[in-house]
């Protein structure tokens, strides 16, 4: 190894990361010349656990794939099972699902703006955004009973209704959030130190974004117009007025602007949904056994496109359930974004794709030459862990 080139491991434990992942950077001074990414630290065996529980129990297990986008995962699951059963949620339930999903998007994006501020050393922004996020969390607690992990979906509808005394609270919260979102947009545009850290950093050109299958705000900030709510509407999104936000900056600053503009669109959807909430039941009765079949459902989680696949075999437990979380699709473009930058850019570039490792981690073994794939048993996993981390 030459004198000025050395490797720095970022992760699995590092103050910049909210969740463990390992990126081994090869640095020449402060410049990054190579990056090697290794995931799998949060693998919890979720997909296997889903196979061992009934469809009703799985409602709550699926939402614990991720704490921040819990509603998105549970909504995807509910849509999946309802499609397999051949039932449809009533209109009021679809509107309530949209309302909670958009509130979750607000809370997730505000969380992200705060974390991005913390990564570039701007702790004040972190404190301010997380304080405003409390408004969204309090609203969700009032509507669903919990701040995160809402568990508001049931198979066939929603579990709790939005009563008329909740509506003025929602409107008041939305008015306040609207002002704060406007303030954050002005701050992102005007604050020079943020511009110095975010403009021209972590570039992902449009053709790279398309080739590496980026999703969500990461792709939309590289001018790839892709939003599930537009091309494959679910819940009540086909009746909601909103614009898909894209930005052609292709850098971290563009990702900041995309998320702040999406916050504004969320507020718009929420206003419309609350004003036009249809009357009617909130749930249809769903049988416990699901007939044989397969289904794929897609949902726009705050981080991008979330795909669930379900295979049922006529019993009350799924035979196979697979989750493709949005962050897994965005990791492929991470290497492209890191190389050529400097060490100081690493935290903000990592944060800019909004990584959610809890969503992402699945482990499968693949022999590249023979194409064979297999899985490990619990005993093999325990032996491997003891060998590598025991000493």
């Amino acid at each position: 190894m030459s004198e000025s080139i050395f490797t720095v491991p970022v992760g699995p434990q590092h103050p910049a990361l909210k969740e463990p992942e390992n990126i081994t950077l090869t640095l020449d001074g402060e410049q990054i010349i190579d990056a090697k990414i290794r995931l799998g630290y949060v693998h919890r065996g979720g997909e296997k656990a889903l196979e061992n529980r009934t469809y009703v129990q799985n409602l709550y297990l699926v939402e614990r794939v991720c704490g921040i986008c819990a509603m998105a995962h549970q909504l995807c699951y509910a849509n999946n099972v309802e499609a397999l059963l051949g039932i449809e949620a009533p209109p009021r339930a679809r509107y309530i699902r949209t309302i909670v999903a958009e509130l979750e998007r607000i809370h997730s994006h505000l969380l992200w703006v705060g974390v991005a501020g913390h990564e570039i050393g701007f702790d004040t922004l972190f404190m301010y955004t997380w304080q405003d996020r409390e408004i969204a969390l309090d609203l969700m607690e009032r509507i669903t009973g919990n701040r995160v992990l809402h568990a508001t979906n049931a198979i066939g509808g929603v579990r709790r209704d939005i009563t008329s005394d909740m509506i003025p609270l929602i409107k008041k919260g939305l008015t306040y959030l609207g002002e704060r979102i406007e303030y954050y947009r002005k701050l992102a545009l005007g604050e020079k130190t943020i511009a110095k850290r975010a403009v021209g950093v972590g570039i992902l050109k449009t053709q790279d974004a398309l080739a590496l299958c980026a999703v969500g705000p990461t792709a939309r900030a590289s001018n790839v117009r892709r939003d599930v709510r537009e091309y494959d509407p679910y819940s009540a999104y086909d009746e909601m007025p909103f614009d898909v936000v894209t930005n052609d900056g292709c850098d971290v600053a563009a990702r900041i602007f995309v998320r702040i503009d999406e916050l504004e669109q969320c507020a718009r959807i929420l206003e419309y949904a609350v004003d036009h909430l249809p009357e009617g039941p909130i749930k249809v009765r769903a049988p416990r056994s699901v007939p044989q079949g397969e289904n794929v459902s897609i949902v726009e989680a705050p981080r991008g496109e979330d795909i669930h696949y379900c295979k049922s075999n006529g019993s009350d437990r799924p035979e196979r359930y697979k989750i493709r979380a949005p962050t897994l699709a965005n990791w492929a473009s991470m290497r492209k974004m890191l190389i050529g930058g400097s060490m100081a850019d690493v935290p903000i570039v990592l944060a800019a794709i909004d990584p959610c490792m809890s969503c992402t981690d699945r482990v499968a073994f693949l022999d590249a030459k023979s194409g064979k794939s297999w899985a490990w048993s619990y005993e093999q996993l325990k032996k491997y862990v003891q060998k590598h981390y025991g000493e």
């Binding site: 910049a16 913390h118 050393g121 702790d123 110095k196």
Partner: protein, 315 residues
């Protein structure tokens, strides 16, 4: 030798208490700007929190990684604590004269402050871990950025008072009833910014960037060594605030004659600390190349310009 003055007031005990008080003030003000409380629990209004942190760190295990350069690794915390303490005796606090003063002690102070930055580099270098090395390199590069404009603008007050002794500068401001900041406002601003870089506070806390390189050059220090280093950083804060208030804001003297000098010193130094904390809450962190190039593109020309204007004014 005035033993009471050396050890108690305005000596060692007073300086330590002041260092801990300023850390408390810095944390409380920073927190209130961000709409939260800050330390309020330990002691009355949380005043004993920095002391509690110091005592806790003293009690923790002092881990020395096997690959460190042991003599240097052990010397750095001690040196980084004692050098600011030595220089603090040159700043007038309880009277218009400092405890020790000699002609040229301003240059000596600037020299010691540069030495502190080099100690940061040595601390990172002797730790031999990747993050420490990166932090040490950044500390050295940051020195290249801020030392020159700082030295230039700190000579400004010396030009006005025609002396290189901090005590004489304060005496000049007291006898002429004029604060030097009126003559060199730009110099005051540049001095405050450069002090932020010297103290490694946001926007210039690059050598110690928590989210990028764990803790920079301080990563491998733990236990007693870390306690001494944190105390040293607090003492550097007292030194910077005291130096700026002595050179630009008239030091421990003021228009109203019945208030003792030490109160004037505390008021002015606290004011400087509050400015530094406010700037800390206002900005994001710069990158090292932006900091050095920005310093040479903007701060150095402005500092030279300030000295030229000062010379014209004094003519």
């Amino acid at each position: 030798m005035d033993l009471f003055g050396l050890l108690i007031y305005p000596g060692l005990i007073f300086l330590l208490a002041l260092a801990w008080f300023y850390e408390w003030l810095d944390r409380r003000f920073f927190a209130r700007l961000q709409n939260r409380y800050g330390p309020i629990y330990t002691g009355p209004h949380g005043l004993l929190q920095p002391v509690a942190d110091f005592v806790k760190l003293l009690a923790k295990e002092d881990i020395e990684p096997a690959a460190v350069d042991k003599p240097l690794f052990r010397c750095v915390p001690i040196l980084v604590l004692t050098l600011p303490l030595a220089v603090l005796f040159l700043i007038p606090m309880s009277g218009v004269s400092a405890f020790i003063h000699f002609e040229g002690d301003l240059i000596f102070t600037i020299f010691i402050m540069t030495l502190l930055a080099i100690l940061a580099f040595l601390g990172g270098w002797s730790s031999t871990s990747r993050f420490s090395t990166l932090g040490g390199l950044r500390a050295a590069m940051q020195t290249l950025g801020y030392e020159v404009p700082l030295a230039i603008v700190l000579i400004g007050p010396a030009l006005v008072a025609r002396s290189l002794s901090i005590t004489r500068i304060v005496e000049w401001q007291a006898s002429n009833g004029l604060w030097i900041v009126v003559l060199t406002p730009l110099g005051f601003g540049i001095a405050v910014l450069a002090m932020l870089a010297e103290l490694e506070k946001i926007p210039f806390d690059i050598p110690e960037a928590e989210t990028e390189i764990v803790a920079g050059w301080q990563t491998e220090f733990s236990g007693r060594k870390l306690a001494l280093m944190r105390l040293a950083l607090d003492l550097e804060l007292v030194l910077s605030a005291g130096l700026i208030s002595a050179l630009f804001l008239g030091g421990p003297s003021g228009p109203v004659p019945f208030i003792p000098n030490i109160i004037w010193f505390l008021i002015k130094a606290t004011f400087v600390v509050l400015i530094l904390t406010n700037l800390r809450a206002l900005f994001a962190r710069f990158k090292i190349d932006q900091m050095v190039s920005g310093s040479w593109k903007y701060l150095v020309p402005l500092a030279v310009l300030q000295i030229l204007i000062l010379q014209l004014l004094l003519r």
